[in-house]
Symmetry: C2
DNA sequence: GAAAATTAACTGGTATACAAGATATATTAG
DNA sequence: CTAATATATCTTGTATACCAGTTAATTTTC
């Protein structure tokens, strides 16, 4: 027993040992590994954006070959990007046949709305308790900015400000992880949202609803804030069947994607 | 104009055209592509299980080389599996240095508990409304099974039955996607849970709590069911700092993982 | 001896080549 | 002309080779 240990120790000094024990980069200290943007990340972000903005329509083929020459990289990083999109539920691959932009499963949209409501509820409640006065002022500024975008009729900027408002609530609630989850489920609804025609007077309405939420938060009335937020989110609940009829190829009834949405277990 | 169309049509019949327009496998019809289990899937599932069960401790190195010879496959599928685990927040890679089982960020555990509560809340509420009598009977059977496992002292089987109970609620609520999300956040807590010593009398307590939830559901009292479920889940809220002191290398204070948990946007 | 510079052998990221299955076109049979 | 068969050429999945950065052991320097 002791001898084998000696042998091992001897060998350790004799033969060049490959990096003691492959120690992790950082124990409890918070060392952050600077991860240079890999090629696969670039492809991923671009594709992700293109799909979410409906630039790439549901059902459209995703050609690996085309992407490789488009980005001037090999198949490997392209493939990694595609696989990540599969994980996100934005892309489907038919094993030896082809890869396509995933259609929007109606059931997923329905559940995503419910899930978002639940997550935003706990978030706004915590934010009502934890937000500082400066944070609330910050939110007022964001709403004001959103008002200006509404006046200018800039729908894209308006939506970005909308995102910023909800993000600031999550930040005040100190729920960065839950915010990531909210974003995740939003993606599932985002494409569906893009199909809705810009409803007349919707933008000012949103500004009003946001203001009501914030007022309740500023008054530290959590229940009221939650109620206003729920009312706000419920406005998204439009009649889905209409869109299914308009773009039948963009949706699926059978939620075959459900199983892939999260690969857990 | 008409001429060019003719040319195109002519070329279509002359030159062999590679698969007309690369049509998606199935439009709105619910064709399900049978996806044969790829090698990367096998590696993924195994690693996933090993990490969640703490068989692979946080901080432990994940050697691609070793896995390739262990499974007799090349680096490609191994790499795919590892990347999926990164997406799950279960492993971290240091670019040109090494890959390691991710440590458990305390903030993620905290948020995961909150998120799960929020999601289980809407789930049990919907289930109270939608569950059939047969489904409720089924749940009673599951609880009974859990009781038997508790009596037998089989902790692993007990936990599986626990999972089954919550899954059946989600099924009754018709929220398969939300259930996937719940599972996803559970994973973050699961490793932490495994560290807790089997608390004396915990198992019978869980059975009692489950029964209370189900009784409220059977009585169609949604608010009560939600309340019982929340009480049940709050029991998991143990003092985390204790575990941080016991296994300091298993946890991180700085939630560097938060950003990677979901790669959204 | 101790500390700085060197170096060898690891790592993950990428490129490329090959294998195997799927599908629309072309061909053939009736 | 229609329907069944054949086949060419796509596709994704996998294997392998190469590159560049990192790290720990070694060597050198003082």
């Amino acid at each position: 027993m002791a001898e084998s240990e000696t042998d091992a120790a001897l060998e350790n000094r004799t033969r060049r040992k490959p990096r003691a024990a492959n120690a992790p980069p950082a124990a409890s200290s918070g060392i952050r590994v600077r991860s240079a943007a890999k090629n696969s990340d670039i492809v991923y972000r671009d594709l992700h954006k293109a799909i979410v903005t409906m630039e790439l329509a549901p059902g459209a083929p995703v050609l690996e070959r085309k992407l490789t020459e488009q980005y001037g990289v090999s198949r490997t990083p392209v493939r990694e990007a595609v696989l990540r999109l599969v994980e996100d539920g934005l892309v489907e691959v038919a094993p030896k046949s082809g890869t396509f932009v995933a259609r929007i499963p109606l059931s997923v949209v329905r559940e995503a709305l419910v899930a978002r409501r639940a997550l935003e509820e706990v978030t706004v409640r915590a934010a009502t308790e934890l937000s500082s006065e400066s944070q609330i002022m910050q939110m007022r500024a964001i709403i004001q900015q959103q008002q200006e975008m509404a006046d200018a009729g800039d729908e894209e900027a308006f939506h970005q400000a909308d995102d910023k408002f909800h993000a600031s609530i999550a930040a005040a609630a100190q729920y960065p992880g839950i915010w990531k989850m909210i974003q995740q489920v939003r993606i599932q609804v985002e494409r569906y949202r893009r199909l809705t025609l810009p409803q007349n007077g919707r933008m000012p309405m949103v500004v009003k609803e946001h203001t009501e939420v914030l007022d309740a938060m500023a008054a530290r009335e959590a229940d009221a804030a939650v109620a206003r937020m729920n009312e706000h989110l419920d406005k998204l609940q439009l009649d889905i069947s209409i869109f299914r009829d308009l773009w039948p190829d963009y949706f699926t009834i059978d939620p075959s994607l459900d199983e892939k949405l999260f690969a857990g277990k």
